[in-house]
Amino acid sequence: MKKKRFRVKNVMDCVWTYGVLIGVCFVFFFPVLWLLLASFSQSGSIYDIEGFFPDKFSLASYSRLFTDTTMYDYPNWLKNTLFVAVLSSAIGTILVILTAYTISRFEFKSRKMLMKSALILNMFPSFMGMTAVYLIMVNFNLINQLWSLILIYAAGAPMGYLVQKGYFDTISTTIYEAARIDGAGNIRIFKDITLPLSKPIIVYTALTQFAWPWSDFILPNLLLKNKDLWTVAVGLTHLDETQFTRFAAGSVFIAVPIVTLYFILSKYLVAGVSAGAVKE
């Protein structure tokens, strides 16, 4: 008798758990679904959509995105974004891997000092120095240059070296000692042993370094005043209510690669979030 009542209680518990879960997931899913369906709407303005979801669907918004480019040159924005994201990812990854590997592997005098200063610098939001970056760029005439964006992204990357350092810390030291005994120098060890062993972390770093400029708005908005140089993030903020479905289509187009990427990386996410928690 007692056991049965226990079971009933369990079922009730389960029911409300699922109820809440469905509610929460609905809240998270609904806005995404709304934007997704709006991007397939036939009309362009938000005023033409009755309620949340359109009743007629077409690919008109997407084709307009890529063909009607006189006012809003989406292909060009995409090209700029891709250029900035790919190059800053490449340079940033090299810098992060070098930093993390050296800090993890070598004992030297200023190591602790470097780690501490990185920790302290990381605690300050990156927006803090942004005005100064802007003023310096204006004074040296580096504004309206995609390259200055790339340099800023790549140079800021080593500050988030902790995840990568954690990875290098797990590689056993015996393999390095063996290589040392065989007479390999530090450069060879790095090239022939470390790099092949650290493929997963390099992929992870490259992808996260790509995702940041891909979806950043503040920096490009600050440094790119020329309409031809806009990135997707800057361009999309200039769309008003009458261009709503264009915004939706442009957003979906740029969000799909990132979302896919996050799902591929989701097993790393927990580790990344907890290690990067000191950052932000």
Binding site: L35, L121, F124, T131, A155, W214, F244
Partner: protein, 434 residues
């Protein structure tokens, strides 16, 4: 490590290096190295004479001649002078470092010669250096990058906060050092002071509320997903991860559209006979604040959920079994076991989240950017300090006051950061809970 270098008892070549960079190396017939050191010194002296010293003086005067197009006088560009002066000091510091390394190197070479060893050739010693000091070579580029793009701007910003740069005073007008005038103005000039304290208060309220909602929202969601009866955890977890993965600016702009006049929310209101509501309008302070909190929760709860999931998976489940045997209720288990454990392991994160929320630029920039309320100096009632900073320095060119404001924000955040640092140090030492 060798015995301590005693430079005063060293040979003539070391003293020569102290006097002229590279001279000692040349005396020891280290030609390439010697000439390299010598050319660094020559280049530096040349730079100092042709422009460097003038730049250094300009750093202090910030220009004396004002431009006058009528008389054809090309005036001084104060900001450029500030930057050039800064550059001169940085180069000088670098040269001093090279100078020290030069003396050390001369001493090492001299010692080797004294011991009768043969000195290695230049290229051989470079190769050896690259191997022995691999970390220097590897870290050089990242450190230079961080110096130029992270630290230099901060230094420049600090300097600007002590000038009257901005407003009407931008080149060709002359900028001057004004000491702590900007800080005094923020804290005492009536209009700016009122705005500052009003925004500071709201900023603190916002940071507390947002952190509280996000932290406990994420924790509860993680606990819910962790329950034994929930099947297909990966499926349920996918929804928050989806929200987490959508770029922030898209989410924020999307929500702005959702609450706009033509948006779906207003559509239903007007269809049911109501009047369209300007949720994010200039006079909609409270609704805008609430919408901001909710949207921010939508964006950040997934992150804290992931974090809490990670921490809960490290948790020892024996405690729960012991507790159920002792007859503790679920609620009691949560209060007595889960909550202390999670809070204990996440205190540093909690405070960094607080700082993140304190400086959350995006939410109100995207939802309500560019609005200025009455009674505020270039700000709206939802703006946080960081938004005000943006309005002041980027949109309205009040660089000096903006820089001073960012230093004030910096001090406020660094107090919290210091707390994090102390906390995390304590956290590392304490394994007692687990």
């Amino acid at each position: 490590m060798k015995t301590k270098r005693n430079y005063w008892k060293a040979g003539i070549c070391v003293k020569a290096s102290m006097l002229i960079m590279g001279a000692g190396q040349l005396l020891l017939k280290q030609w390439v190295k010697g000439f390299l050191y010598l050319s660094v010194l020559a280049a530096y002296l040349c730079y100092a004479v042709t422009g460097g010293i003038k730049d250094a003086i300009g750093f202090f005067t910030l220009g004396t001649t004002k431009a006058d197009p009528w008389l054809g006088i090309e005036g001084d560009d104060s900001v450029m002078m500030l930057l050039k002066g800064l550059l001169f000091f940085i180069i000088t510091i670098i040269v001093i470092f090279i100078y020290v390394s030069n003396v050390k190197d001369a001493y090492d070479c001299w010692e080797k010669v004294k011991a009768g060893e043969k000195l290695p050739g230049f290229f051989k010693s470079v190769g050896k250096y690259m191997d022995k000091k691999f970390y220097v070579v590897a870290l050089a580029l990242p450190i230079v990058g961080v110096l130029i793009f992270n630290i230099l701007p901060i230094v420049f910003m600090i300097l600007i906060s002590f000038t009257n740069y901005g407003g009407d005073i931008v080149p060709p007008e002359l900028v001057d050092w004004v000491g702590i005038d900007n800080f005094i103005r923020i804290l005492s000039l009536s209009e700016i002071k009122d705005t500052f304290f009003k925004i500071l208060l709201w900023n603190l309220v916002w940071a507390f509320l947002a952190t509280f909602i996000n932290y406990f929202g994420g924790l509860l969601l993680a606990l819910l997903l962790n329950k034994k009866c929930v099947k297909g955890k990966a499926f349920w977890r996918a929804f928050p991860i989806l929200a987490y993965a959508v770029p922030g600016f898209i989410t924020l702009l999307g929500f702005k559209f959702m609450f706009s006049y033509g948006g779906p929310v207003n559509y239903y209101i007007t269809m049911n006979g109501g009047n369209a509501v300007g949720f994010l309008d200039i006079d909609a302070g409270l609704t805008a604040k609430i919408i901001g909190l909710l949207v921010n929760a939508w964006i950040t709860i997934p992150t804290s959920m992931l974090l809490a999931t990670g921490i809960l998976s490290n948790m020892n489940t024996d405690l729960y079994e012991a507790a159920s045997i002792d007859g503790a209720s679920k609620w009691k288990q949560f209060i007595k076991i889960t909550l202390p454990f999670v809070i204990f392991s996440t205190t540093p994160v909690l405070i960094t989240n607080f700082i993140g929320n304190f400086n959350n630029f995006g939410v109100f920039y995207f939802l309500r950017g560019g609005l200025y309320n009455d009674g505020y100096f270039l700000a709206s009632d939802t703006d946080l300090l960081i938004n005000w900073l943006y309005n002041l320095s980027i949109d309205n060119n009040y660089y000096g006051i903006g820089a001073a404001l960012s230093l004030i924000i910096f001090v406020i955040t660094s107090i919290f950061s210091l707390f994090v640092y102390v906390q995390s140090a304590a956290y590392k030492k304490e394994d007692t809970f687990r």
